[in-house]
Amino acid sequence: MAYSDKIRGTYQAQIKGIQDAGLFKQERFIHSPQAADIEVEFPAGAPLKKVINMCANNYLGLSSHPDVIKAAHEGLETRGYGMSSVRFICGTQDIHRELEQKLTEFLGTEDTLLFPSCMDANAGVFEAILTKDDVIISDRLVHASLVDGIRLCSAMHDTIKHSDMGHLEEKLQLHADKRFKLVVTDGVFSMDGDTAKLDEMAALCEKYDAMLLVDDSHSSGFIGKTGRGTHEKCGVVGKMDVITTTFGKALGGASGGCVSGRRELVELCRQRARPYLFSNTIAPVVVAGVLKVMDIISKSTERRDKLEKNAAYWRKGLTEAGFVLREGDTPIVPVMLFNAKLAQDVSLALYDEGIYAIGFFFPVVPQSQARIRTQISAGHEMHHLDKALAAFTKVGQKFDILGKTKQDIIAKYGM
């Protein structure tokens, strides 16, 4: 115990630096289940306010679905609360394996292994299957958890410009002498809402004898005609070597993730991936909930169809109102504001209008690309979207950014 004044002072200065730069993040306390309508305490101590949530990853609106809650209750009753063990000692129940099999079938792969989270799946997968004789070629905008996983692995790492297929081909040629090449991308990019060109990537990987890994955390359950993910949308189901994904977003939103893909790669994860070996198993109640989610989305595409309609309506509404959006056709619709302080001010003004949508800025997105990332859910009804559109329009008028270009907004508010 030597937490001296010097040590404390150093950390206090760092925190102050974050505050002074306008980059300080503050939590808002939600007192209700996750849904389109939530009750929020913000700032801390303020009376509860009913607002519409426009920034959850609850794409399919299943986070508080009565059938999922009921299944979780049953899981709790029949399989208990905790397992107090990692998977390979005594932490694997019949329902863990059942969920792995359901996921394999749904994703169109050969086998699946559960992880405590997708962050853990991404942390473990690279080191388990690659060596220093291999190379990883990743898109420059992949999620932080992939970057961390790649760092933990001894393979050489190179990057390509975002979704630049010419650049990818050059890199596949440059690294032709490596034992194995693994190309890595997000399926849907979480900050921009655009989709990887998985069909072109799969073709290049075939041509240059490379493996392909996609993180489909923002796709699984709703992208593609039957919601299987980006590989379904791009017509390459069965061609993916590894898919990692989370249950913490569309698939019930509780927690957990998986590595799914070629049988041998999944088996090596089971033998070697450190977050699988050294972190506790997913709680039975969560597994039971995800099993119900898989059931619901395998039987009907109703929810993903509604989500698609909602997202198109929302994007059209914001475009007509005159906001600068990132192009795309997913439920992630980023409203570009460029300046970090403007993004925070707009977020606060929206909150006053009963809309919960958070500003994103550096380091979560690159400098000068601050934004409000809106995310649409099948849990939204038309009245939610219309109210939110009215609020965005009112706030957009207040800040005089409607119908303005990127250059106009930067000229007015700075980078």
């Binding site: 420059r140 970057v147 790649i150 050489m156 790492h157 190179d158 990057t159 410009k161 890199k171 440059l174 690294h175």
Partner: protein, 85 residues
């Protein structure tokens, strides 16, 4: 060779790392400490130079400091080319 090498490196870095709307580079622009090239992406530059000049730059010499500007990269490459004889 130095001038030609300078431009080869500058062109490569521009094409490989800069977005279309970025400020143009100079020979002295800090690349890694300036956030233009992240230390991961340095790999392709290193491989490009090794292949082009038939040299091998060991990992303990391929530091972020040694790659921090076009001029620094040029002196590094020249040192290894000279060693090769």
């Amino acid at each position: 060779m130095a001038d030609e090498l300078k431009d080869i490196v500058l062109n490569y870095v521009t094409k490989e790392y800069l977005e279309d709307d970025s400020e143009p580079l100079t020979y002295e622009t800090p690349l890694i400490s300036g956030g233009i090239v992240d230390s991961f992406s340095m790999v392709s530059l290193k491989r490009f130079l090794e292949n082009k000049y038939g040299i091998a730059i060991p990992d303990d010499e391929a530091t972020p400091e040694a790659f921090d500007s076009v001029n620094k990269i040029v002196s590094l490459v020249q040192r290894f080319v000279a060693k090769k004889g």
